[in-house]
Each structure stands twice: as C-alpha cells, then as structure tokens.
C-alpha cells in the first residue's frame, strides 16, 4: 500500500480511539448532570460507557502498538548503538505481533460466545456482542498495524514518525 494511504489508515484508527475517549467522557458528564439536576438516568449509560471503553482501549492499543508508545524498559536499548537499537526494536515488535495475534484469535472466541449466550444490556436489552465485535476489530487493526510497523522498522525506519501531527507524541505518563 502507498505510504500516504497507509498513514491515513493509521490516523483513522487513532482518531476512532480518540473519538471514543471523548464520547465516554461526554457520556459520564451528561449522566452525572442529568442525575443531579433532573434525577434522570440515561438508559444503559453504564453499559454504553463500559462497552465504549472497551472499544477505545482496543483501538487505542492498535495505535499505541504502531507508534511504539507502550510502557517499556529502555535500559539496554538506551545504551547501545543505533544498529543494535534497531535489532532490539524489530525483535520486540515481532514478539508484540505474536502476542496480539494470539489475543485477537482468543477474543474472537469471546465475541462468538457472547453472541451465542445472547448477553444483553441492562436497560434497553440490546445485544452486547456488536460492541464486542467493534472492540475486536480494533485488535484486528492492531495486528495489521504491528505488521506494518515491523515491515517499516526493517525496510523503512525513516517512515516511523507520527503522521497525525507531524511529530512523535509522548504519552502523558
């Protein structure tokens, strides 16, 4: 895939997660506001909140895995030359790819079980499996993005910048 299209795809995945962070915050804020001002409760606010949290985290893991902003121990990496740094990065990314692939496989089983068990939300009695499926798609994206990261680390390390804002964003903590 062309680099520009690939970067847009990566950005889109990240914006999906970022969008859901905003939605979760707005959902909580509205819920608190309505409960305290009008003693009204949004139906399924709790269930929607937790299900959207799941979606944002899995889509966020996809973006985080690609950007390499996971929590890591950099003691060895910080004390070796660029050649070894790259080798370490490739090894770590391959392990990451393996783990997330296994997770994605097992999560699909969880989505299917939830569907067959007909698990519903508390108030509106909506099926929860579509939310789980959406979250699972985030994990599928993670596998794709980590594969792209591995390819780029090996063949195009200069591509490993943040196209969303033009520079690397450091995590808050």
């Amino acid at each position: 895939m062309n680099r520009v299209y690939m970067d847009r795809f990566i950005d889109t995945i990240e914006w999906v997660a970022a969008f859901f962070v905003g939605i979760v915050a707005a959902n909580i804020f509205l819920q608190v506001l309505l409960r305290n001002l009008f003693t009204y409760s949004i139906p399924d606010s709790y269930d929607f909140g937790r299900l959207m949290l799941g979606i944002l985290i899995f889509w966020g893991i996809a973006a985080t895995s690609y950007r390499g902003t996971h929590i890591t121990v950099d003691l060895v990496w910080g004390n070796v030359g660029p050649r070894y740094q790259r080798m370490i990065d490739v090894f770590a990314t391959l392990v990451l790819l393996f783990v997330v692939t296994v997770q994605t496989y097992t999560l699909f089983d969880k989505v299917m079980t939830t569907r067959s068990d007909n698990v519903l939300t508390f108030d509106l009695r909506l099926p929860t499996w579509p939310f789980f499926m959406l979250a699972w798609l985030g994990d599928v994206s993670a596998v794709l993005l980590i594969a792209v990261r591995t390819y780029r680390l090996i063949f195009h390390p200069d591509y490993m910048v943040d196209p969303a804002v033009g520079k690397e964003i450091k995590p808050v903590e």
Partner: protein
C-alpha cells in the same frame, strides 16, 4: 519440572523480554500464559486470554484511568500552568529562593488537576525554568526544583499511579486519592522548607525576585479560580463534601475531563489542535496502561498457580526482621528497581507479589499505597535513570544530567525524611479517608 522451577524460569524470561524492550504488559502476558499453559494446559490458558482481556477493558471502574488522563491532557494543553506559576510568583517570588518556592507551589496546583509526574515536570521545564534562569538561579537548583516538584503529580489526587494501585489491589480508589492529599501537601511544605534552608545556608546562591504589590497579587488570583474550582468540585465530589454531588472515581474523572475541556474552550486557551492532541495523548497513554493491566492480570494467574506470593510471604516473614524490617527491605527493592523501570511498570509488576506480604504483616493497604507511590516516585528523580530528569533534559538541552542530579540531591534527602515521617505516623495518610 517443579512449580518453583517454572516460577523462577518465568521471572528470568520476563526480565529478559523486558530488557529486550518488549512492552511490559505484553511480556507479562506472554510469560504468564506460557507458564499457565505449561502447568495447567493450553486450552484453558488461551481461554483466559480472551476472557481477561475483554473483562478488563469493559470494566467501568477502570474508566477512571482514561478519564483522569484526558483531564490532565486538557489541562496541559490549556496552558493553565502559566497562570498558576504567575500567581505563586506574585506572592512569594520576592523571597530568597522565591521563584523556587513559587515553582513548587505551582507544580502542586498543576499536579492537583493533572495527575501526571512526567507532564508536570515537562510543563514546568518550559514555564518556570526560563524565569528562574533570568533571575540568575543556578541551573542545578532550577532543574532540581522542577524534577522534585514534578513528583507531586503522582501523590496529589487525581493520581494515575494510585488509581492503578487501587485497581490491582482492589482498594477503594476514592479513598486512595484522598489519602494522598496530606502527604502531598506535606511534600509541598517540605520542599519549600528545603529551598528556604538552601537560601539561608548559602546566601549568595539563590537571588531574591522583584516584589509585587498586594493589588497585583490579588488580581492574579482571578486567573486561577477556574482550575481551583475544578479541583474542589472533582475531589470534593469524590470525598463527599456537603453541597456537592457525590461521584464515583470514574465519574469524577469524566466530570473533571469535561470540566477541563469547558474551562479551556471557554477561556479561549484550548483550540482545535489542542483538543485533538489531548484526545490522542489520553488514548495512547490509556491504551499503554491497559496493556500492562491485562498483562498483569494474566501474569497473576501464573503467580497464583505457582503460589509465588505465598512463598515470597513465607520467605520474607521467616527472615526474622520484624514487620518494619521487611517493609524497609521492600522499599529498598523499589528504590533499586527505580533504576531500571518507570513507576507504573514497577507498581503493576511487583504489587501482586508484595501486597499479600503487606497485608500479612498487618499494614493498612491504603497507607501502603501512599508509601509505595512515594517510594516509586523517588525513582523518578534518583540517579542513574530518573524519568523526570530525562524529561527535563529533553526539554532543556543546555543542561547536563550531572547538573540536574546535583540539584535534586537536597530534595531526595527531603523525600527520605518524609517517608520516615509517614511510616512513623500513618495517621497522616489515613485520617482523611477515615472520614469518608
């Protein structure tokens, strides 16, 4: 192979993977599931991966983490730190070492609405450092104050590290946040006293700033009313102050994030770019923290099946050091680990093993949360790694690591004294939560 041998091999593999820069959460998950699979079977181990991952990310209680991260990101993007520093400077800047005292006060104020040590240190490297240098403060002192002030982010509520500790140990996150208030205020006071002592002991070392009139001082208060109100509303709601709605920690985070967003937008300090960057930052950090949480839970199954926490408890209690001797040993271990990894990784990796020891010895879990966060925060400033020091160095290019570490030494001594005080008087951490 015996379970003990599997456990030891598991820990060796875990540290090897982490040293090879495999993300901490992924390394814990991989080792945990491989070990569990070896001892119990592949099919149940794989079942655990899907179930644990989905259960963790859809747990409403865990929503406290992304929400407070988002609040911190909005606060940082809004540049509220400048007003806090300006106001503190107006009040104490004229004293000897006054700019240092103002930096500590502003770091405390910022930490109370941000919750991140690294963000606090990075922010004040750009806000307070140029000002201190302009007035002739030595580089070592200026950077040392910022590094130490940054650690307040993990102690004063809302603290992400305390929230994670609460999740792992199943303690009330609200109580943990509130327990951090007095130790956090104590830290601010002790840092200020340290600066005053430095100024008194070395009169030519720290200059005095320009005095400001009371009119200017009072006028500057109007710039900080909004973040102050946000803090009172969020933490007051969590504590259950009268006339305020009562929040759960997740709700407090959501309301705090929305409040920070509204203050930023209405005051014109949060533009579209700032909003988008904040959302991205919060998402990435939350995803990174949740990855470690999932990994820790998977690793926890491995620990349970190998009975590692029980064996560690038996081993430590059999040493005959007494409860405070064991506590000292544990804290020493954390200080050493602080040379290798960051606060969050340390907490998540070690607490499942150490926590049973602590409860077995009869220590209060809420108090221990405060103590352990203080200890790992020391790791943020002590040599040779010190994450805050690295952050400051990345922002201020013309200062060496040695200079920063030199400036940090008085504050490390202060922190050690504070640690002893809190161990001697647990009531300092437990008094406020006992009234919730």
């Amino acid at each position: 192979m015996s379970t003990d041998a599997v456990a030891i091999l598991g820990f060796i593999a875990l540290f090897a993977l982490m040293l090879l820069r495999v993300p901490v959460g992924m390394a814990m998950g991989l080792v945990g599931i491989s070990g569990f699979s070896y001892l119990v079977g592949g099919a149940p181990a794989l079942k655990l991966v899907g179930q644990t991952s989905m259960r963790t990310v859809t747990d409403y209680t865990f929503g406290v983490i992304p929400m407070f991260l988002l609040m911190g990101a909005f606060v940082t993007s809004s540049g509220m730190s400048r007003e806090l520093f300006r106001t503190a400077n107006n009040f104490v800047g004229h004293l000897r070492g006054g700019l240092g005292i103002a930096t500590v006060a502003a770091c405390g104020g910022f930490a109370a609405i941000c919750g991140s040590s690294v963000a606090t240190a990075a922010t004040f490297s750009t806000v307070a450092y140029p000002e201190m240098r302009r007035y002739g403060y030595p580089q070592s002192f200026a950077t040392g104050v910022i590094a130490a002030g940054g650690t307040l982010g993990a102690m004063l509520p809302p603290s992400t590290v305390l929230a994670v500790y609460g999740i792992i140990t199943e303690q009330d996150i609200g109580k943990l946040f509130i327990a951090g208030i007095i130790p956090g205020l104590l830290a601010i006071c002790m840092y200020m006293i340290t600066i005053a002592i430095i100024g008194w002991a070395r009169p030519g070392f720290l200059p005095e700033g320009k005095p400001t009139s009371w009119n200017e001082r009072l006028a500057s208060l109007k710039d900080i009313w909004a973040p102050l109100l946000l803090f009172i509303f969020v933490i007051g709601g969590l504590y259950g102050l009268p006339f305020l709605p009562r929040f759960t920690p997740t709700e407090a985070g959501g309301v705090g994030a929305s409040g920070a967003f509204l203050i930023g937008v209405l005051s014109g300090r949060l533009n579209k770019d700032g909003i988008l960057t904040s959302l991205l930052q919060a998402t990435r950090t939350a995803a990174a923290v949740f990855t470690v949480l999932i990994g820790a839970l998977l690793f926890g199954y491995f620990l349970t099946i190998t009975q590692t926490p029980q064996k560690v408890t038996e081993f430590l209690t059999a040493l005959g050091l007494g409860k405070y001797g064991v506590l000292a040993l544990i804290m020493l271990m954390y200080l050493l680990l602080g040379c290798l990894m960051d606060a969050m990784a340390m907490i998540i990796l070690t607490i499942p093993i150490i926590f049973p020891v602590i409860t077995h010895l009869g220590f209060d879990p809420i108090w221990f949360g405060v103590i352990i966060v203080m200890t790992v925060e020391l790791g943020l400033i002590h040599p040779p790694v010190g994450m805050n020091v690295f952050v400051i160095k990345s922002v201020i290019k013309d200062v060496s690591f040695t200079t920063i570490f030199k400036g940090v030494i008085p504050f490390i001594i202060t922190d050690l004294i504070r640690l002893v005080i809190l161990i001697a008087f647990p009531i300092l951490a437990l008094w406020l939560p006992s009234h919730m």
